[in-house]
Amino acid sequence: MNRRRIDWLLFLLITIWYCGIFFNLILLIYPPLVYTFPLVNLLYSLVCHQNPEKLITIYSGHTLVCARCTGIYSGVLLMSLISLIEPKINIESRKLFYISVIILLFDVLMTTFKIYDYSKLVAFTTGIFFGGVMFLYFRSALYKLFIITEAH
């Protein structure tokens, strides 16, 4: 499988996962999908605490994951889209990974221990940064995995 196909496959899978976050908007297009709501809600509850105060309000409804998780998946989707346009984008250094984790954990701990108030915007932004960096690491590792598999 060549790199271009991997990028397209990743983009497709991430887009499907990302669309599920905005389930209330999907229902505008096809309301009978509401029968799957308990299952979809349970699916996203496995990856997010879904605290009602931390969900993003969109069109009278809410996202199925919190602002931080929405940010993480937005970062992943954004970076997968960028890598389709600019395939050479890559990171080898671990510095960015550690920086993104530290920023994210710092915000989580500060808001958990009430050092400062939780902000959806800050949570979303830290999530985007972390998601984007994680995607680049994952994509690079996936490339190497396919190269090894094909070599054998």
Partner: protein
Amino acid sequence: MKKYLPSIVSGFGAGVLQIVPILKGLACCLIVPAASYAAVVLHKKSSKSNKIDYKTGFVIGLLTGLFAAAFGSFFEIIITLITKQNDVTGSFTQIQQMLSTLPITPALRQEVLDMIAGVNNDIAMYGFSTLYTISIIMNNFIVNTIFGMVGGLVAVKIIDSKEKRDLE
């Protein structure tokens, strides 16, 4: 058996952490990838070779995800059976509120609410609901294996970068 031990240990840890509400709230989707990372590190330490390849990382991540799903589902079902309550019963009011905001007809909304109420009643009365059990097992296996594979690959990438830097 020895080569599966890091995945079993980390998967068990992730399975336990997934059902602890406070930790679940803190770590969100990072529990299983972190468990995969731990499994890769444990595997590296227990094996004689210093180098770990991407294929091994992928397999360890996948296995960690599978074990996390198996242990997580088992604990969830057992705890539900004993306590006769879980996330679904606890968040029934929240789900009702969420449903009330969805752009659907009242009749459709009522049907879905009845369905969830049925699951709720089964859990409250018997501590078991077939629909809930199937959903939790299916969802756990889908999500945990995907996140496990991602964690395994990212772990190898990080270890690889560290080794390259050390060589330089």
